[in-house]
């Protein structure tokens, strides 16, 4: 056992140690996860931690990117734990901003209150929940009543011809696609159509969080029907068609104008961010939130959503001023 052999045997250990040391060196940093803030008056620095709805994430990412080009010292991260998962972390004080595709639920608000976390709800973009069908489907418009017949919790409809008062004859099997029950889109749609959040027939193709597979399903199935965010329709106009919605005042197609003027009801929705009071105490978080709201048009366009109206934007900025 001379020294040479010994040293060779130690080699892997040494390599491992070196690796650890070099990576640990990378870990040296002046700002930790909750630290940061601004250094002096000018340059902003530190971190902004946002998490929540995967629907809102593209907006958050676009806003983060635009914001970081102007404020290179700030590190914004956007997670996609889902609206519910986002609130869970938010109320545990682990994130600065929660992103949501629906209002906060009572029990979630209670959890935040118990943890002493105050927050404000700010609209950052509009979205049209779009009902999509196969391009060969002759039906152009569905009333809210008819959507309820199709998607209601007690619905047993299995063929398009069973829907009462359709604007066209269509004898084809209903093939339903919808998001998973964790999704804010699911909560919003069931609330708007079935009158109670989370209630919907269960014998549909649950596509989870992967909206593209819903598009794929409807494209390949003559009697297919699917609902999802507007951006998924925009990107797939050559593959599926959007069903107009009649809320008692005639058929309205999802579009920027109809969502902004409120006539695309009840499926027009706002997407929200919820900054916490603790988060807003950090200068970089407040700056980011302000940027997000006041540049909603640019952000929404980049991410495939519909911008806020002037009234909505003013309202959001006002709410922001009311906290912290």
């Amino acid at each position: 056992m001379d020294l040479k052999v010994q040293s060779k045997r130690i080699l892997p250990v040494a390599v491992t140690g070196l690796l650890a040391a070099s990576l640990a060196a990378c870990g040296n940093s002046d700002d930790d996860e909750n630290g940061g803030g601004s250094n002096g008056g000018g340059e902003l620095s530190g971190s902004v931690v946002a998490d929540g709805s995967s629907t809102v994430a593209p907006l958050g990412e676009a806003a983060a990117e635009l914001f970081m080009t102007e404020n290179p010292g700030v590190q914004v991260t956007v997670g996609t734990s889902g609206t519910g998962g986002g609130f869970e972390k938010f109320c545990a004080g682990e994130t600065d901003i929660s992103e949501a595709s629906r209002d906060i639920k009572d029990e979630e608000a209670q959890a935040c209150a118990d943890a002493g976390i105050e927050f404000v709800q700010l609209g950052v973009a509009n979205d049209a929940l779009t009902v999509m069908a196969n391009q060969d489907n002759p039906v152009d418009c569905l009333t809210v009543e008819q959507l309820q017949q199709i998607w209601g919790p007690d619905s047993t409809l299995s063929n398009w011809s069973e829907i009462e008062g359709l604007d066209a004859d269509f004898d084809e099997e209903l093939d339903l696609y919808g998001p998973g029950t964790d999704s804010g889109t699911f909560d919003f749609f069931t609330e708007a159509i079935n009158g109670e959040g989370g209630v919907q027939r269960t014998d549909y193709n649950n596509i989870g969080e992967d909206d593209n597979s819903g598009i794929l399903g409807v494209e390949g199935s003559a009697g297919g029907l699917f609902y999802s965010g507007y951006s998924y329709y925009l990107e797939n106009q050559d593959r599926v068609k959007a069903i107009e919605i009649d809320n008692g005042d005639g058929c309205v197609a999802p579009a920027e104008e109809t969502v902004q003027d409120g006539s695309y009801a009840p499926l027009g929705r706002q997407l929200y961010i919820f900054p916490s009071d603790q988060g807003l105490e950090k200068e970089q978080v407040r700056a980011f939130v302000e940027y997000f709201v006041s540049n909603s048009g640019e952000v929404a366009e980049a991410a495939g959503f519909i911008g806020l109206t002037e009234d909505q934007e003013a309202e959001a900025l006002e709410s922001l001023d009311s906290i912290g």
């Binding site: 491992t16 990576l23 870990g27 996860e33 994430a57 590190q75 996609t80 992967d210 991410a303």
Partner: protein, 306 residues
């Protein structure tokens, strides 16, 4: 190592002769060989299909931008995977650092020291085998509750991800290492002990060096499994949008599978191409890491013979 080889080839020759002397045996043999080959080709064709699809889809997106640029929603054309690649390498490096000593240590204890007549040793053994079958997301919840939060409270940092994945793949390493140690003939141990070596000297200088190829294989398998996991990491903070390089003790990191999943579920088809490019990158990273491990194994193999 010469005599076992001789024995093996002798056995093979004997089997072959047995088959040849018997017509029915030959047919059955051919049938089974083709069934086995069929099984192999299903696996290989599946992989080949995935690779071809990814490469076709990613075509036109494959450039150095993918390695050097951060992800982007505004500028999809030049978006890349830099933070995700670095995040994956960092997380995997520490998975490696954790599982090698712990896994090999546990295996040595169970094989060389543990008294199998004791109920607690049998209990540990049973549990390790069970742990190997627990779904990944359960380890994610464990990591969230005990490492990110709870007693360790490390927060949502790359180290948390490493520890979570290490727990996930530790059983693989322990089982593979035990097999490797068990394959060392007892005569070597007895010879070493007879020459006056202590038990630890026997293990460290005789048993372990011979088992290194088997251990390395186990570690390669373990790391390969860990590198593809997205579900547990989503729970322990692998965020989907990070444009800066990860730091071990800083929150804000992402890994390749998470980034790929996020791109794949976007509305815009450009993102789907990007996701396919991510698959190609992940493959490159995986093959590079495995290649290094295999080189390491051969290196030790050669040294042992020479």
């Amino acid at each position: 190592m010469k005599s076992p080889n001789l024995a093996a080839s002798g056995a093979a020759a004997a089997t072959e002769r047995g088959l040849l002397s018997n017509g029915r045996g030959k047919t059955v043999g051919t049938l089974f060989a083709s069934l086995l080959f069929f099984g192999l080709s299903v696996a290989m064709l599946g992989l080949a299909w995935l690779l071809v699809w990814s490469f076709l889809r990613a075509q036109g997106r494959l450039s150095w931008d993918l390695f050097t640029n951060p992800p982007s929603t505004l500028d999809i054309e030049s978006a890349g995977f830099r933070p995700a690649i670095l995040g994956t390498l960092m997380v995997m490096a520490f998975v490696f650092v954790v599982i090698v000593p712990l896994g090999v240590g546990a295996a040595i204890y169970l094989e060389e020291y543990a008294d199998r007549n004791r109920w607690y040793n049998r209990f540990i053994e049973l549990n390790i085998q069970n742990l190997a079958g627990v779904p990944a997301v359960v380890f994610g919840i464990l990591g969230l509750a005990f490492i990110a939060r709870g007693p360790f409270g490390l927060g949502f940092i790359p180290l948390t991800a490493s520890l979570t994945l290490a727990l996930l793949v530790l059983p693989t390493v322990i089982l593979a290492t035990r097999e490797a140690i068990r394959a060392v003939p007892d005569s070597i141990r007895q010879g070493s002990l007879a020459l006056g070596a202590t038990k630890w000297q026997t293990i460290s200088r005789q048993v372990l060096p011979v088992s290194i190829p088997g251990i390395t294989t186990g570690v390669i398998l373990a790391v390969s499994r860990a590198i593809g996991e997205a579900a547990p990491l989503l729970l322990v903070g692998a965020t989907t949008f990070v444009v800066f390089d990860p730091e071990l003790f800083n929150s804000g990191y992402t890994v390749l599978p998470v980034q790929i999943y996020q791109y794949a579920t976007r509305a815009q088809p450009e993102f789907h191409d990007l996701a396919a490019a991510g698959v190609v990158i992940m493959l490159i990273v995986l093959l590079t890491m495995n290649g290094f491990a295999i080189w390491l194994r051969n290196h030790f193999d050669k040294k042992r013979v020479g």
